[in-house]
């Protein structure tokens, strides 16, 4: 297993380089112009000058190499400097956003807290409620609990977050006034009262997202459990006198986890990609908001950097999932 993990990690490097190239080419090919948001009153000659100042006049391969150097060489140095107070990166050009003209990574670091609070928390909550619901629904298939669970999760999945979010705001912010409708990103948790406020402003976005995540995961959990509950080994386990709890929670659950692990591992990088619509509805302004804003403004360095970080996480979680498969089912062999 160890050799497998090491080999996969090494192989990930060329994969990621290739992915970054494809992303770059895709962004180059996509129509759009960083000057799209500049008012029409600005004459074309000025716009041309502004494009040149962004470095758009340079040939494509030069720009790609520049990004590679900045991302893989300069940015780690900046991180190192930051951690140990050294000065390796001084005077070196970092990946700069075209919108803010500031280092992209600085903004990413700024956005991570609110993203983790909202999207991360909702994912954890989603998983934690999805697993028991999925297991119990399968164990008591077609019971009232299962029917309600199915119904709620299907509603949760089929009604888009732009609607549930607004609905919650209208009910809980406008009519009842319980929760703030706009997330305060400058809020800092220092004592109990500020913690309560943080929970209040988290309540609605987390609920919306958790419902959506839980719906999806619980469906896969239920289906996979159902497949396994009828297997011969379950009968064997029962026949040899194991308690019902041990049969379901140990034998069946472990064997049912493979698709669920896949789904959870697929969703985890999404946490860092943010939840574009929910962030927009509640003004959380996390990484999802940053990415969509950058795409709309054709801020290519930001889009490239964010997408690449995202790709990194996808590859990483994929490896984790593969390792977990091997642990869950020792029969799976990779070498």
């Amino acid at each position: 297993m160890l050799t497998f993990t090491v080999r996969r990690l090494v192989l990930a490097v060329p994969t990621l380089l290739f992915i970054s190239l494809v992303i770059f080419l895709l962004l180059e090919l996509a129509p759009g112009d960083p000057m799209a948001q500049v008012p029409l009153t600005v004459p074309p000659e000025v716009k041309e000058k502004m494009r040149e100042a962004l470095g758009l006049g340079q040939p494509m391969h030069v720009r790609f190499l520049k990004w590679l150097v900045q991302f893989f060489w300069v940015e780690p140095q900046v991180l190192f400097d930051h951690l140990f107070g050294t000065g390796f990166a001084e005077g070196k050009l970092r990946v700069l956003s075209w919108q803010t003209r500031s280092p992209v990574m600085d903004i990413v670091v700024q956005r991570i807290p609110q993203t983790l609070w909202v999207v991360g928390l909702s994912y954890v909550v989603g998983v934690l409620i999805a697993l028991p619901i999925g297991i119990y629904s399968a164990y008591r298939q077609y019971s009232i609990f299962d029917q309600i669970g199915t119904f709620v999760s299907m509603i949760g999945f089929s009604v888009p977050t732009f609607f549930t979010g607004v609905l919650l705001i209208v009910i809980f912010s406008v009519n009842l006034g319980w929760f703030p409708s706009i997330y305060d990103t400058t809020h800092k948790v220092t004592d109990w009262d500020s913690f309560v406020f943080q929970m209040r402003q988290l309540a609605m976005p987390v609920f919306v997202l958790a419902l959506f995540n839980a719906a999806q995961i619980s469906r896969f959990m239920r289906a996979s459990m159902l497949d396994n509950l009828n297997q011969d080994y379950v009968r064997t386990a029962r026949a040899k006198g194991l308690g019902e709890r041990a049969v379901v929670m140990v034998h069946v659950l472990r064997n049912s986890m493979i698709p669920v692990v896949t789904v959870i591992a697929l969703g985890a990088p999404q946490v860092f990609a943010g939840a574009i619509i929910t962030e927009q509805v509640f003004k959380v302004n996390g990484l999802g908001h940053m990415l969509i804003g950058a795409i709309e403004a054709n801020d290519l360095p930001t889009v490239q950097t964010l997408t690449f970080i995202f790709a990194l996480l996808i590859v990483l979680f994929n490896i984790i999932a593969d390792v977990l498969y091997g642990i869950l089912d020792p029969r799976i062999r990779y070498d």
Binding site: V159, A223, P269, I332, Y334
Partner: protein, 312 residues
């Protein structure tokens, strides 16, 4: 888990006398399907939705794009049972016309994603040599930013498709492909994970030992056993496709703006949530009903196709 009573203790020991000629497999599947009430109900609702959106517009006198500005923002009346929108267009007519597009896009895009995802997932899980390249391809697609990808697809293919199939079919093909191509990856990963575990199981070993060819192995032994995650992907896929379509039209990448779809109706109505809540209700209900009915249909089908459950 429904019925485990009425088992004759000595029934297993005596040879039953065949009372009728053996039923074909499909009859058995149908027999099993019929007993699943949820599936039956789901099927009926789904058929009703299909009929409403296909035949409905022929019967209903209003044109979904006809604007009657004097009749705008009406609540339910006899002439307009579901009311009218902010331009005075009949909501029922728009729901039916929108349903045609949404259901068609939802189902075709879901099928495309499903076929593509299952194909790649099975290949990657079954053939070790293909696993690496195919999964890296999946990683790549997962990593690509959706919006620029769609913009590029529109840029490259809209005009050729319009020229070849006419504007409406052209854009339909484009949207279905766009959604299909960008949503097959989860299915592929899930199917692969299951296949990895399945192919080490005893029955696969047994099948191999009697000389089963790879193609046979996949079709007879592997696919039926990964059916349930595929079914779940399918139900989630329809909802996903309908919603994605609305996001696409919202971004100006989808159907022309006067072309109603459920997702779009829902999106447009969100602004009017407080004044006219019913406008949000209808498209929301339609999407949920479709997804729910497909879900139960899928449940029933899976049970009916599973020989271990069938006949219990």
């Amino acid at each position: 888990m429904t019925d485990d009573t009425n088992v004759n203790p000595i029934g297993a020991l005596s040879d039953p006398m065949p009372s009728a000629p053996p039923r074909s497999q499909w009859v058995a599947v149908w027999q099993q399907f019929k007993t699943h009430k949820g599936a039956l109900l789901g099927g009926i609702i789904f058929v009703i939705i299909l009929l409403a959106v296909t035949i409905g517009p022929w019967i209903w006198p209003y044109d979904p794009t006809y604007i009657d500005i004097r009749a705008r923002n009406q609540g339910p009346t006899f002439a307009h049972p579901l009311g009218t929108d902010q331009l005075g267009r009949d909501t029922l007519a728009r729901m039916m016309a929108g349903g045609q597009v949404s259901v068609a896009v939802g189902i075709t895009a879901m099928l495309l994603a499903l076929v593509l995802g299952s194909f790649i997932g099975v290949l990657a899980g079954f053939f070790r040599r293909l696993d690496g390249p195919l999964m890296r391809l999946t990683d790549l697609f997962l990593a690509l930013p959706l919006l620029p990808l769609l913009l590029v697809m529109v840029l490259l293919f809209r005009d050729p498709l319009n020229a070849a199939f006419g504007p409406e079919t052209g854009i339909f093909i484009l949207i279905v492909c766009a959604i299909g191509v960008t949503s097959w990856m989860p299915t592929a990963r899930i199917v692969r994970g299951d296949v990895l575990a399945l192919k080490e199981r005893e029955f696969v070993l047994a099948a191999r030992s009697i000389g089963t060819k790879n193609a046979q192995m996949i079709i007879r032994h592997i696919l039926p056993n990964v059916l349930s995650p595929i079914m779940v992907s399918a139900t989630l896929g329809i909802a996903n496709a309908i919603i994605t379509e609305s996001a696409l039209s919202f971004l100006g990448l989808g159907f022309p703006p006067d072309f109603p779809t459920w997702g779009r109706l829902l999106f447009d109505a969100t602004d009017y949530l407080q004044q006219y809540p019913e406008r949000v209700f209808w498209p929301g209900l339609a999407i949920s009903l479709t997804v729910l009915s497909v879900n139960y249909l899928g449940d029933g089908l899976r049970d009916a196709l599973d020989p271990r459950i069938r006949g219990r």
